[in-house]
């Protein structure tokens, strides 16, 4: 993928087919993709298939063990855990999607520009990136929450604050290797504007690494969002966010472990799915492993 991509649409289509076949050859990537698709499906249609209302208390069935009536049991208010998980999926996944895509959207141009123009712009921007990334991920998030206050919206902001410099650094790293290639020289000689070189010629060939980072970033975002939810800094009860559900259920760990098992399994599976896909894409794009 380091070599410039073919420009003709037919060749591009053939390349896409090869890419798909390479991806399908990796069993773990396919398993990851299936998990990912199921999660996306749940987040789209979960509320339609949920057997109960997610916030409806049922004081006759408090902390009921899993049964045919309540497949994953009920929590301390008698709320159906399966229904809450099905409703909560869209919260978790949309935080991941919005956080990762916004980070990519803002970070990619910064990475491209610093790599291409170099000089003082590169020096200053990369120092700022170093400074922000000197704060270990979740600690930066907690710091931002301390300023903005808790809430799901602010969780997304914290993910972007960390994601933008991350993307800028990674895109810059890949873009630098493209900068001196002949086809960029040729485009320059042909009179292409800087904007055209950056967003047409360079960005096209960075789609691979950006996609990999996007998937891994989603996994990270889901982890961070659920950790913040667990700490009480994210979505607030009674919102059925998975991390917040775990925080509520923590008190009943000894008597009703199902309250804590199922939301955790879902976070784990969502993160696992995105990680496996990102990993598979990464291997696929690695020219050394490509055959």
């Amino acid at each position: 993928m380091i070599s410039p991509k073919a420009q003709s649409p037919q060749l591009e289509r053939r390349q896409a087919l090869v890419d798909v076949r390479l991806f399908m050859q990796r069993r773990s990537a396919v398993v990851g993709a299936i998990i990912m698709l199921v999660m996306i499906g749940i987040s789209l249609f979960g509320p339609l298939i949920a057997p109960y209302q997610p916030s409806l208390p049922d004081y006759a069935h408090i902390l009921a063990a899993p049964s045919w009536q309540h497949l994953m049991g009920t929590d301390e208010f008698g709320r159906d855990i399966l229904s809450r998980i099905l409703w909560g999926a869209r919260l978790t996944l949309s935080v991941g999607f919005i956080g990762a895509f916004a980070s990519a959207f803002l970070g990619t141009p910064i990475g491209l520009a610093t790599a291409y123009f170099g000089g003082w712009l590169d020096d200053i921007v990369m120092r700022i990136v170093d400074v922000v990334l000197s704060f270990p991920g979740i600690l930066l998030a907690i710091g931002v929450i301390a300023i903005l206050g808790p809430g799901l919206q602010n969780v997304i902001i914290t993910i972007i604050v960390f994601g933008v410099p991350m993307f800028a650094r990674i895109v810059r790293g890949s873009a630098i290797s493209l900068k001196n290639l002949e086809y960029i020289e040729a485009a320059k000689a042909g009179g292409a504007t800087n904007g055209r070189i950056l967003f047409q010629h360079m960005l096209r060939n960075l789609v691979g690494p950006i996609t990999v980072q996007l998937t891994l970033q989603m996994a990270q975002a889901i982890l961070v969002a659920s950790s913040l939810g667990f700490l009480g800094f994210g979505a607030q009860p009674p919102t059925p966010e998975w991390g917040a559900m775990l925080a509520e259920g923590r008190m009943f760990l000894t008597i009703a472990p199902w309250v804590d098992i199922f939301p955790g399994v879902c976070i784990f599976l969502a993160v696992l799915g995105f990680n496996m896909v990102g990993d598979g894409l990464n291997d696929m794009l690695d020219p050394r492993l490509r055959r």
């Binding site: 400074v131 000197s134 704060f135 301390a146 955790g264």
Partner: protein, 306 residues
Amino acid sequence: MGAYFLRRVLQIIPTIVGVSILAFLFVRAIPGNPAVIMAGPNASAATIRALTIQFGLQKPLIVQYWYFITNAATLHFGNSLGDGQPVTKIIGYHFMPTVELAFFGLGLAIVIGVLAGVLSAVKRNSPLDYTVMTLSMMGVSFPAFWLAMMLIALFAVHFRMLPSGGDSGWTSFILPVISLGTSGAASIARFTRQSMVTTLTSDYVRTGRAKGVRESMLVFKHAFKNALGPIITIIGIQFGFLLGGAVVVEVVYAWPGLGNLLITSVESRNYPVIQTLLLLFAMEFILASLLVDIAYALVNPRVRYD
């Protein structure tokens, strides 16, 4: 080596200055008058005035920053808002428990991660390799706080083998250290395998094998030594994750460390403590990266001449 060392130390100065500016701006970024917010809803005018003077909030920003760094250089970070104790003293109470937890967590991650990674690379494409790689993929995907809860449910509640929280004797270390070290071990295993596969398939290892060098010698002396660079790098990165992970793990185990202090400080809006903790964590991370770079240069003399 000396010149490289010096250059690397000088390079972190702008980062440290940047981090201190960010930590300084942290309290200023709170919307509204910082002194009023810090003083709390029922504060008297005198308290607000005292806080304004403590943080120099009536002076220009650049002067305030100067106050901040000169005070920080002598470890004066102001007083905690709740009980009025010096922040340095409060952090001092909570410092060692976190250091111990991080030390054992990272130790566990390195030992398991490097061993598993080397084994996986040597026996690559074997069932053992697939098992290790599957487990490590799962390991990096576990939310640390959930793993911590499940371990409590299993070993503290169900089997009653280990304490479920607090810091009392060596047994109380076992569960927090496992919760903290798992994802690090998984990451390190993946990178170690990758790095070892690269060196094990390189020409000099093939030549060594052709010359009849013993396999164990090839793996440990030739391949491992050359694979060490990237492994050290990932260990440094893991240290940062570990500091973050320690926060949530400490909360689950009611561990009397800096993570718990951070969370209670955020909940009670104790900004001087939060600010100092952020600065401290960032400094530790910068220092760890510096040590990693120096270790890298020691095992791989080529980087020193770049």
